[in-house]
Structures are given as structure tokens and as C-alpha cells.
């Protein structure tokens, strides 16, 4: 057993070959209480932990709460469920509409039905390697719920949309497969087999 010193005030970059290093930057999430699930634009799953604050921005979202720790799925597939409840929320690329044994949910329904016990604690947060060279994440909560983030390749089924979208799509920068924002900084995994941590001052400068 080794004791590590992790400096959360310094940036760090790694690859999927250094999941132990990545795991160290997830440690601050351990023990934090779950607060809420919110589906953001682009049907992105966000999970909020820790202390709550209100939105700092405009009136339309003035009553939305934010956790001091926020996990964002960035468009990756995900699963959320508990063996005790025997219910599973499944969100994956390429699937629209209903499937045997399941029904489609609106974003509001996902927020209402996510089933995590309020203030249950994060007991583990473990990255893992998944093909083709992406970094997934498993977050286990004290109420038995488990969140799996399963990064996917970019959506190959872009709708035949307006010319403007087609013109900009190729120039859009890549985004991470998932991110964790904390009071100390931002941890990002992907795209692909890499990860990075940026301390708060640099992360906030964008």
C-alpha cells in the first residue's frame, strides 16, 4: 500500500495507462452527499453533490441549485440503477423511442424518477478502460445506486439539418467524455484515452 500526495493546485495530464493517477483526482468526490440530477441542453446528464448554491446567472435559472461537485456526462451513454429497486435508467446513443421492457422518458421524468436517496453518499468513484480506448466511470452511492458513464464515439447519425449546422460541425472542437467540477478544479476524461485536471483558477478562466 502506497500513500500518495496529490496537489490539487497543479494541472495534471495522463492517459488511460495511468488510471491510478486519475482515480486520485476523484477522491475528493468520495463521501459527498448526492443532491440532484438535472438534464441539461443536449440531453446531457448532470449529477450534483456536496454543498448547494443557487445559480449565479440570470433570472430564468435563478432558482436552480448547483452542487459544489458536478459530474457531467458530456453526451456519453450512461446507466443508473439499483439492484434493490430493480429499476434501471438507460441512456444510450442511437436509441430513440420505446423498447421491450422499457419506456422513453422526458428529461423532466428522468429528473423525477432517478431514484437516488437524497443525501446518500458517494462510496466509490472508479475509472475503467473500455474499448475503443475510452475511459468510463463507475460511481457507487451508499443507497446502492450505481452510475456508469460509458463514453461513446461522436454521434454518426447526425440529422440532415440546416446547411449552417453542417458547415460548423466539422470545425467544432472536441469535448471530454465526462467531467467533474469541484471547488478545487476540473477533471476531464477523454475524448479518447486521455484525461486532464486543471486547478480552479485556470479552469475558471476557460
Amino acid at each position: 500500500m502506497t500513500t500518495l500526495l496529490v496537489d490539487l493546485g497543479q494541472p495534471c495530464h495522463g492517459t488511460s495507462g495511468d488510471l491510478q493517477g486519475l482515480r486520485a483526482y476523484l477522491v475528493p468526490l468520495i463521501g459527498r452527499p448526492f443532491r440532484l440530477v438535472r438534464m441539461s441542453y443536449g440531453d446531457e446528464l448532470t449529477m450534483h453533490f456536496g454543498d448547494l448554491r443557487l445559480a449565479r446567472s440570470p433570472k430564468r435559472i435563478a432558482d436552480l441549485e448547483y452542487g459544489s461537485f458536478i459530474l457531467r456526462a458530456r453526451g456519453s451513454d450512461w446507466r443508473l440503477g439499483s439492484s434493490s429497486t430493480r429499476k434501471l435508467l438507460v441512456h444510450y446513443l442511437g436509441h430513440e423511442g420505446s423498447m421491450p421492457g422499457g419506456r422513453s422518458l422526458t428529461n423532466q421524468e428522468v429528473e423525477e424518477l432517478q431514484g437516488i436517496t437524497p443525501e446518500s453518499r458517494v462510496v466509490s468513484a472508479s475509472p475503467f478502460l473500455m474499448p475503443p480506448g475510452r475511459i468510463g466511470l463507475e460511481v457507487t452511492l451508499s443507497d446502492g445506486n450505481v452510475l456508469l458513464l460509458l463514453p461513446t464515439v461522436d454521434d454518426p447519425t447526425q440529422p440532415a439539418c440546416d446547411d449552417e449546422h453542417a458547415a460548423t460541425a466539422a470545425s467544432l472542437p472536441q469535448i471530454a467524455d465526462w467531467e467533474l467540477l469541484s471547488p478545487m478544479g476540473k477533471l476531464a476524461a477523454g475524448p479518447g484515452p486521455s484525461w486532464s485536471y486543471e486547478p480552479l483558477s485556470r479552469a475558471h478562466c476557460g
Binding site: 438534464m39 441539461s40 441542453y41 446567472s57 430564468r60 448547483y66 456526462a73 453526451g75 440529422p159 440546416d162
Partner: protein, 63 residues
């Protein structure tokens, strides 16, 4: 169904306006709440075009 391209567009628009990290995270919720309030975008699923996102971003930083 989450679309990375929609999220990438959102991020790009947010960076164009020089939003801080906090603002970028809240901007996504701002656009989602806009959509839920009934203000739909021009795309077939009600999502917003790049230009519409740019207009929303201007509203967001201006409010």
C-alpha cells in the same frame, strides 16, 4: 438521446463570448430551461441552430 454535437455547439458558442467556467455550465441549463418554457428552436426536435444558440448566449450574458 444525448448528442455530443449539440453540446459541442453550446461549448463553442460559450467560448466565443468568453464565458467563465461557471457561466458555461449554467448556460446549458439556461438553454434547456428556455426550451422547456416553450421557446423551441428551428430544428425538427426543437433544438436550437448555431445562430439561435449565439442569440441565447447574448441574452444569457446580458441579463
Amino acid at each position: 438521446m444525448a448528442r455530443k454535437s449539440d453540446i459541442r455547439e453550446l461549448e463553442t458558442v460559450a467560448r466565443e463570448l468568453g464565458m467563465t467556467e461557471d457561466q458555461r455550465w449554467e448556460f446549458g441549463d439556461y438553454v434547456e430551461q428556455t426550451k422547456r418554457s416553450g421557446e423551441r428552436g428551428s430544428r425538427s426536435n426543437g433544438d436550437f441552430t448555431y445562430a439561435e444558440l449565439q442569440a441565447l448566449a447574448q441574452e444569457f450574458v446580458g441579463e
